[in-house]
Symmetry: D2
Subunit: 361 residues, 4 copies
C-alpha cells in the first residue's frame, strides 16, 4: 500500500506542468488519502533534499497557469550531477543520495514529469529498484512512446498565432516572412502550425531543403499575383547540399543552436538568390510559456490522474502514454531514448503536398 | 475522370467550414486542375440553382475565419423542401431538380459539408445514384463515424475560456456559477470543457442528475473552505426523477430547446435547496463562431483535401473520417443516423471521478 | 505619519481589482515601509473583523488575474448592515464597529476600492472623521468623477470579441444577431464595443429606441445585399413609446433586471414586425471576469500607487481619478452619487452616425 | 464641393489601417455620396498610377483585420522617389507626376495614412497647394501632435502577452528573461507593456542605462527570494557610459538596427557581471501584425470618419489628432518632424519608481 508519493518536474518549461501536478495532488489526496511531497527544481531538489508537502490549496487555481509551482531545471542528471559549474566542471553520481532522501520522507513512489532526459534518469532509478512512474512532457512532441505530449498543442497554438500576425504584414508589404520555431530534431511544431497558419513553405529537420525549391515556390506565387510568402522553419532544419554548418553545431555541442541561425540563413539565401525582401522572426521562449490550451489541460489532467492510479496499483517502472483516445502505459525501458521524427509519408505532409505547399524538396 | 466538383455547406454554423472549402478549392484546382462550383446556403442553392465558380482568390485569407463564404441553412432538406413557410406549410421533393442542376453545370461529384441532417440527404442522393462525398461537421462531436468533428475543439475552447472568466468571479463572490453549453443529446462539449476549465460539477444528457448530489457537492466544498463552485451543464441534461419537462420539449418539438432552460432550472433548484447564491450564464451562439483553433484548422484542411482525393479516385458515397491519427473514409450508409453519446466508462469521466468531480449521479 | 493602511474591495467583480491591490501593497511596503491589512469581502470583513496582513508574496503573480484575492460583496453597506437575511430583514448601522476595528489594528488610513455604493460608504466614513481614500471601480464606466474606470476596457474587449464571433454566424445564416451587454443606466459598454465590433445598431439607455427605426435599418441593409445585421443592446435600454415595462422594473425594484429581458424583447419585436430570423445572446457575467487587458492593468496600477501616495501625504477624503492622461484626485463628496451617462453629442455617437449606424432614434 | 477622395496607406504595417480605410469609405460613400479611390502601396501607387475605386463591399469584414487592403511601402518618398535600386541608386522628384494622376482621376482631396515620413510628404504636397489630410499612424506612439496613435494599443497588448508567457518560464527556471520590443527613439511600448506585464526592469532610449543598476536589481530580488527577473528593453536603448556602438548604427545608417542587438548585449552583460542565466526574446514583426484591439479599432474608426469630415468641410492641410477624449485636428506643418519621447517625469515612470521598478538609472 502506498501512503506517500513524491513528485518532481524536470527539463525545459512546458505549458501543462501545473495541470499534471494538480491532477496528481487532487487524485492522491482526494481519492486515496495519499500524502504528496514535491521536490524543487527537478532532480536537483531530490539531491539537495529541498521539498515540501503539497496540499489541495497549493494546486488551487493553477490548472490554467504556465510554468511549474515546483520549479524545474534542465541540467540536473542525478546520476551525473554537476558538483561545480566552474572549470574544471566536476560531476558526481548522486543517485544514492536521492534514494536516501526518498526513504527519509517515507516516499513509496516517485512520479517524475519530464522529457527524454528526465525520463532516462527515471528509468535508471527504476533499474536501481526504485518505484518510479514517468509522465512524458515536451513541447516538441518527439517522444516515441506516446501519440502526443502535453505542451505541444499550446506551442502549436502560439506558433500559429504568430503566423496569423505575420500574414497580414507579409501581404501588405509584399514580403517573405520567415518564422523560426522550436524543433531541433523533429519538425512537429513547424509542420502542424505551418498547416494551421497557412504557411506556403514548411522546412523541417526530417526533410533537408534545397534553397532553389524554396525560391521557385516564392517566384511561382509571384507569377500568380501572390506577392508574399510565409515560411516556417524548425530550428534544426538543414540544407540538402554538403553545407552542414548547422548540423555540425548540432552534433558537436551540448549547447542549444544559436536561435535564429537557420531562420537568418534562409532569409539571407532568399534575398541573395531572388532579391525578394525577407524578414525573420524567432519565436523562441514564447513557445514554452503561456496558459495551456484546453487540449493540453485535459491531457495533463488525464496523465496526472493516471500516474497516481498506476502508483496505487503498484505498476512501477512505467510511463503514462496516450494511444489513440486512451491513456495507457508503457515501460520506461521502452519509452526512453527513441526520438519520434516526422515520417516522410505522414498524413499532414501528404495533405500539404496536395494543397501545393513546398517542403523544400 | 472528374472535371468539375460541386460543394455546399449545410446545417448550423461551425468554425472550420471555410478551412474545408479552402482545402477543397486549393487541392482541386492546384493539384488536379478540377473546376469547383459552390452552391449558396446549403441544399437551398442546389434547389434554386444559386451558385458560382470558386477560384483560388475566393479562398485566400479564409483559413482562420469563422462562418462559411457559401452561406448555410439549417432547414433545407432537398427531399422535403419547404415550398412555403406560411400555414399550411407545404413541402415538396426537389431532389430531381437538384440532379438537373448538377447535370446542367457538368458537375461530376458533389461534396457536402454538414451534420447528420445534411449527410442524410447526401446518403439519399447517393442512393439516387449521384456521386456524393460527405464531410462531417458538428460542434457537438456527436457523429458516430468519426473520432472527432471539426468545430468541436473551437467550441470547447470557447466554453473553457468562459469557465476561466467565471472562475475568479465565483471565487471573489463566494457564488455558484452555472454555465450552460450546447449539447442536446450528447455532452461532449460540457465534458471536455468542464475538465479543461476546472468545473466542480459536470452535468450531461447521458447521466441524468440528482439535484441532491449536486447540492451535496457544493456543501462538501464549503465545508473544506471552498466557498464557490462551478457547474457546467449541457442544454439537453435532464433530472433523474420523473420530472421530464425538458425531455418532453425535446421529443415533441422540432424547435431548439429554449436556451437557458436547464441552466436556470438548476440555479433555481440550488438556491431553493441550500440557499447559496447562484448565477447562470448561457453561452449560446458564441460557441458556433470565432476563429477556428489550430487543431480545427488542421482537421478541416485534412478533411477537405481528402474529400477531393476520394472524388478523383471515384470513391463515391463515402464520408471522410478521422480514426486515431489517420484520415480515412466510411460509407455514408454507415455514417448517418447514429448518435455518438458519451459512454458511461469514458476515460474523461473516469478521470473526473478520480479527481472528485460530481457528475450528478 | 502613516504606519498601517487598511484595504478592501467592494461591489461587483471587476477585472483589475487584484492589480490595484498589488500596486497598493508594493508601493506601501516597498517604498514607504507601511504595513498593509486587507479586509475580507468588502465592508463585511471590516464589520466582522476578518482581515489579514498582506505581504509582498501575497500579491506576486496576481497582476493579470481577474477577481480579488480579498473577496468582495455587493450587499454590505456598513451604515445599513444586513443583520439577518430572513424576513423580516433587519439592518443595523455598524459603522462604529468598523471604526473600532480599524483602531484595534492601528490602521491610519483605509483604502476602499469599489463602485458608487462602496464609495458612498467611504464618503460617509470620511464624514465621520475617518481617514479614507477611494479608488473608483466599475466595468460600466458610469462614475462621473473620472474619465475611465478600470475594468471597463476589459469588459469592452469581452463584448467586442463576442460580436466578432456572432458576426460570421450572422453572415453565414443571414440572421439578425442581438447581443445584450451590461449597462443598466449608462450605455458605455454597448457604445464602445458596438463601434469596435462593427455593430449595425447600438441601443443604449440614454437614447430610447423606436423599433421601427431598427427594422428600417435591417431592411435597408437587406436591400443593399447585406442579409444580416448585428445589434448590441445595453440591458437598461428602453423603448420610446409609452410601453415602460422594462423601465418599471428598473424603478421599482432593487433587483437586477432579469438578464435577457431587453434582448429577447427586441428579438421578438423584430421577428414579429419584419419576419427576419433573430437570435439573442446574453453576455452576462462573462463581462466581469477574465484577465484584465494591458490598459486596465496599467490604470489599476496607477490608481493603486496613487492611493498610497495620497495616504502618505495625508490627503484624505479623496478619490483617485484619471483626467486626460494624468492621475489626479477629487474629493469623495464630489465623486459619489453622480451617474455619468453617454451625452447625446458624444463623439463616438457622432462618429457612428456618420458611418450610418442606427441608434434607434 | 468634394466629389472624389483619394486615399493611401504608407510606412510600416500597423494594426488599424484597415479600420481607418473602412471608416473613410463608409463615411464618404454612405453619408456624403463621395467616390473613393485607393492607391496601391503608399505613394508608390500614386506615382505609378496604380489605383482602384473602393466601394462598400471592399471594406466589409476588414474592421478586425491587420494589415492594409491597399498595400503599403516604407521606401516611397514621392519627392525623392527611388528610380532604380541598383548602384548607383537614383532618386527623382515625382511629385508633379502624383499631382497629374490626382487630377486625372478628378480627386479633390487626398487622405494619407502614415507615420512621420508619410505625413512629411503630405505636408510637402500641401505646400505645393494640394488638398491633403493626414491620419497619424505608428505603433511606436512617437508622434508629438496626437495623444495616441492607432496600432500602439495592439502593439502594447502583444508585448504584454509575451511578458505574461515569459513570466512563468522565468519563475520556473529561476532565470532572467529579456524581451526586446520596438522603439528606436521612444520607449512607449516598453514602458506601457513593462508596467502591464509586471516587468522588473524597463530600459528605454530616453533613460541611458547603467548595467550595474540592472544587476543590482536582479541581485536585490534574489536576496528577497525572487529568483527570477523580467527585463523589457526598447530596441533603441543605450548604455550610460561612452560605449555608443548602438547609437552609431542609429546615426549612420538608414537601415533598421539589427534586431536583437541591445537585447543580446544586455543578456551578455548580465551573465558576465553576475553569472545569472539570462535568455533573450526579440518580439520583432509580431508587434506590427494581428487583429487590432477594440481600443485601436475605435480610434482608427474615429480618425477615418473625422478625416472625411475635414475633407467635406474644406479644412485641408490638417492632420486628425486625439486630444484627451476628443478627436480634433492640427496643421500638417505643426504635426511633422517632432518626435514624442517619454518625458522623464512621465506619470507611468513615476508610478513604476514608486513600485520599485528599475529604469536602469
Amino acid at each position: 500500500m502506498i501512503s506517500t508519493i513524491g513528485v518532481l518536474t524536470g527539463g525545459g518549461d512546458c505549458p501543462g506542468l501545473n495541470a499534471v501536478l494538480r491532477a496528481v495532488v487532487k487524485t492522491a489526496i482526494g481519492k486515496y488519502g495519499i500524502k504528496v511531497i514535491g521536490f524543487k527544481d527537478g532532480y536537483r531538489g531530490l539531491v539537495t533534499d529541498e521539498c515540501r508537502e503539497l496540499i489541495l490549496n497549493d494546486v488551487s487555481g493553477i490548472l490554467d497557469r504556465g510554468g511549474t509551482i515546483l520549479g524545474t531545471s534542465n541540467k540536473d542528471n542525478p546520476f551525473k550531477f554537476m558538483i561545480t559549474s566552474k572549470e574544471p566542471i566536476e560531476y558526481k553520481d548522486m543517485s544514492d543520495m536521492c534514494v536516501q532522501n526518498l526513504v527519509k520522507h517515507g516516499i513509496d513512489c516517485l512520479i517524475t514529469i519530464g522529457g527524454d532526459g528526465t525520463l532516462t534518469s527515471a528509468r535508471d532509478f527504476a533499474r536501481k529498484g526504485l518505484n518510479v512512474i514517468g509522465v512524458p512532457k515536451t513541447i516538441d512532441n518527439d517522444l516515441s512512446a506516446t501519440d502526443i505530449t502535453f505542451g505541444f498543442n499550446t506551442a502549436v497554438t502560439t506558433a500559429t498565432e504568430a503566423l496569423d500576425k505575420l500574414h497580414t504584414t507579409a501581404e501588405s508589404h509584399h514580403r517573405v516572412m520567415v518564422l523560426e520555431v522550436m524543433g531541433r530534431y523533429a519538425g512537429w511544431i513547424a509542420l502542424e502550425s505551418g498547416i494551421a497558419g497557412g504557411a506556403d513553405v514548411i522546412i523541417i529537420p526530417e526533410i533537408p531543403y534545397d534553397i532553389n525549391k524554396i525560391c521557385d515556390k516564392i517566384i511561382d506565387r509571384k507569377s500568380k499575383g501572390r506577392n508574399f510568402s510565409i515560411i516556417i522553419v524548425a530550428e534544426g532544419a538543414k540544407p540538402l547540399d554538403g553545407d552542414v554548418v548547422v548540423a555540425k553545431v548540432l552534433a558537436n555541442s551540448p549547447d542549444p543552436i544559436r536561435l535564429g541561425g537557420i531562420g537568418n540563413r534562409l532569409a539571407d539565401e532568399i534575398e541573395k538568390n531572388i532579391g525578394v525582401e525577407t524578414r525573420v522572426t524567432v519565436l523562441g521562449h514564447l513557445q514554452r510559456g503561456g496558459h495551456p490550451t484546453p487540449s493540453d489541460r485535459i491531457l495533463s489532467t488525464r496523465y496526472g490522474a493516471k500516474a497516481v492510479e498506476l502508483a496505487v496499483e503498484g505498476r512501477f517502472g512505467k510511463m503514462v502514454s496516450l494511444k489513440g483516445t486512451e491513456i495507457t502505459e508503457v515501460t520506461l525501458e521502452e519509452a526512453v531514448g527513441k526520438l519520434k521524427q516526422v515520417p516522410p509519408d505522414n498524413d499532414l505532409i501528404r495533405t500539404g503536398r496536395k494543397m501545393g505547399l513546398c517542403f523544400g524538396d
